[in-house]
């Protein structure tokens, strides 16, 4: 029981902090990805907008989905949602609580990417450089160019090396303008997200605290129950395997004895545990045959009931219908000393 308690405490205390840890790691990974990514504006009229907005919006979507994939509880939620009702009713409030808490955690890395992108400014500069107000920022005295020409010139603003519109509008002026707008958008976005988070967190106790406590308890319960069930099954599988393998070795030993027509030699009284553990296999040839047999012909997943002392309780009840009874009697005689 103590072992269970320690393991449980580890899981429980670490479940929330584990999720928060993954969430924080993904946020850091998101900033790292952004700084490692080599942003390369195409500097062509129609491609700029697609590239800039693509870099702004596609990676957050990927990070959002990744947040769900990395969250272990997603399979728990899916299982609880799809299981047949059976004897246990389904509570949609619990499902909603689980989904909301997962979605909130998955939203953090995309929000970090979008904020960092906007505060840095390169994406917006690339995407909207063709929309810079040339009339207010540029030189009014410049000879008029066609709209297409102007667009082509403006599209090169992010690429300083090939920019040839210095007379139309100074590169630094345009870049500063776009970056100012981008940073303002970035800070507003962060403010909005923080305000939303604050409202969600502070309005909850005012409205539905009792329902929230209930949903939280049952969602933890489902998680713990699943883990305990997995543990119990693992324990059962261990015992199953142990008995199965023991029975295999016993079967091998019996076969060998039958094949060689030996009289089973009684182990000397003082050989003790070691001889028992050898399970009747005491030489290289026998061991090799056992190993070959294990590989070629694994035993069925069906454990025989353990051997009964002879003459006790078989009469009048159903016979063991699947096992041959003759080896059993011999086995009973062979192992009576065990």
């Amino acid at each position: 029981m103590d072992k269970f308690r320690m393991i449980f405490q580890f899981f429980q205390s670490n479940q929330e902090s584990f999720m928060n840890g993954i969430c924080g790691i993904m946020a850091l990974a998101s900033t790292q990805m952004y700084s490692a990514f080599d942003f390369n504006c195409p500097c062509l009229p129609h491609y700029n907008l697609a590239y800039g907005l693509g870099i702004l919006l596609v990676p957050p979507f990927i990070l959002f989905l990744l947040g769900f994939v990395l969250n272990n509880n997603i399979s728990m939620l899916a299982e609880e949602w799809r299981r047949p009702q059976g004897q246990r009713g389904k509570d949609s409030a619990v499902l909603r609580y689980m989904f909301c808490s997962m979605a909130q955690r998955a939203m953090i890395a995309p929000a970090v990417w979008v904020s960092v992108t906007l505060l840095d400014g390169k994406c917006i500069t690339c995407a909207f450089c063709t929309s810079v107000p040339v009339d207010t920022l540029g030189n009014a005295s410049h000879p008029r160019l066609s709209q297409g020409e102007i667009e082509r010139v403006l599209a090169r603003i992010p690429c300083k090396e090939i920019y040839n519109g210095q007379q139309l509008i100074a590169n630094e002026v345009a870049v500063r303008y776009l970056r100012c707008i981008s940073q303002a958008l970035g800070w507003c976005f962060v403010l909005l997200m923080t305000t939303l988070a604050f409202l969600v967190r502070s309005l909850r106790p005012c409205f539905s605290q009792a329902a929230f406590l209930k949903s939280r308890y049952w969602s933890h319960y489902i998680d713990i129950e699943r883990k305990l069930f997995d543990e119990t099954c693992a324990e059962h599988a261990r015992s199953f395997a142990k008995v199965c393998i023991q029975q295999f070795f016993e079967g091998m030993s019996t076969d060998l004895v039958a094949a060689r027509c030996h009289l089973p030699r009684k182990a000397p009284a003082d050989a003790g545990e070691a001889a028992e553990k050898l399970l009747g296999i005491t030489d290289q040839g026998t061991m090799n045959m056992a190993l070959k047999s294990w590989h070629r012909c694994k035993p069925p997943l069906h454990l025989h009931p353990p051997a009964l002392p002879t003459g006790n309780g078989w009469a009048g009840e159903g016979q063991s219908h699947t096992q041959p009874s003759a080896p059993r009697r011999e086995t009973a005689a062979y192992y009576s000393c065990v």
């Binding site: 002026v173 500063r176 009931p305 051997a307």
Partner: protein, 306 residues
């Protein structure tokens, strides 16, 4: 009992230090955010003031809200404020104490941001360069108003071709930075003096009420944590009984449907218990399928009768 005592001491000692730790961490994050933020004044007449003041005041609001969100005690205070009275009276002094301690901690990071911004000077130069009086500085004498405005707006941008080697630009910049740093140090001094006085003079006023409020606010916090811990333990025990009950009922069902006797060999009892009567691939498959398709009801009262 020992376990409870250890856990209690852990929570007691760490509640305040966890909150102080978060507060300090946010202050450090605030400084780091400022240094890694690429301040880029637009140097345009209408935009400068909005940008400069925006950078000075919007991040502190964000940091303040973060300070409230990350502080566990704010939730506890809200719950205590909104709960129905029931059989336990509500003490407003406790709620006020919790509110003031939360506010004090949440204000640290925004103040750090504002002070760092002022001491650095870029924000104020950007925001107020357009509002300077051109007559104070030589170099703006023979220009029209519009040109003066444009030049003043470009003061924060050192590398702009219009003002690159302009001595008046440097003069305006130095002037504004001097004001900015003076303001920053003054604010810091005033806040430190206020904190010092508050801490020294507090014992002179209502010390007994303060001790009571602090005790009960700690109590509410610890009670909440212990309640959550007890719920977790309860749900673990509940799950354990539920699963055992489930395995038992599977074993009963198998006994009913098959005719083999349960083995009674001596050395096999331990393994029997662990195997719980399930000794066959089909039986295991059936158990797993039943677990998914027909979960047991959330009622372990029958288990007690075994």
């Amino acid at each position: 009992m020992d376990r409870f005592r250890m856990i209690f001491q852990y929570f007691q000692s760490n509640s305040e230090s966890v909150m102080n730790g978060i507060c300090g961490l946010l202050a450090l994050v605030s400084v780091k955010m400022y240094t890694s933020f690429d301040f880029s004044c637009p140097c345009l007449p209408q935009y400068n003031m909005a940008y400069g003041l925006g950078i000075m005041f919007v991040p502190p609001v964000i940091l303040f809200l973060c300070g409230l969100i990350l502080n566990r005690q704010s939730l506890v205070m809200l719950e205590e404020w909104r709960r129905p009275q029931g059989r336990r009276k509500k003490d407003l002094a406790v709620i006020r104490y919790m509110f003031s301690s939360i506010m004090q901690r949440a204000m640290v990071a925004p103040v750090v941001w504002i002070v760092v911004t002022l001491l650095d000077g870029k924000c104020l130069i950007c925001a107020f360069s357009g509002s300077m009086d051109p007559e104070k500085f030589v170099g703006f004498a023979n220009l029209s108003t519009a040109q003066v405005q444009e030049l003043l707006a470009k003061v924060p941008c050192r590398d702009d071709e219009l003002v690159r080697n302009n001595t008046s630009r440097k003069a305006v910049s130095r002037y504004l930075r001097c004001w900015s740093q003076a303001l920053g140090w003054s604010i810091l001094l005033i806040l430190i003096i206020a904190a010092f006085l508050a801490r020294w003079l507090r014992p002179c006023f209502n010390q007994a009420t303060l001790l009571q409020a602090r005790h009960w606010s700690n109590y509410i916090d610890i009670e909440q944590k212990i309640f959550e811990e007890t719920c977790c333990e309860h749900s673990r025990l509940f799950a354990h009984k539920c699963i055992l009950h489930f395995f038992e009922s599977m074993r009963q069902e198998i006994k009913l449907h098959s005719f083999s006797l349960p083995g009674q060999g001596e050395g096999a009892e331990e393994e029997e218990d662990l195997l719980r009567g399930i000794t066959d691939q089909d039986q295991v498959n059936k158990l797993l399928k039943t677990w998914y398709c027909d979960k047991p009801p959330l009622d372990v009262s029958q288990a007690h009768q075994r």
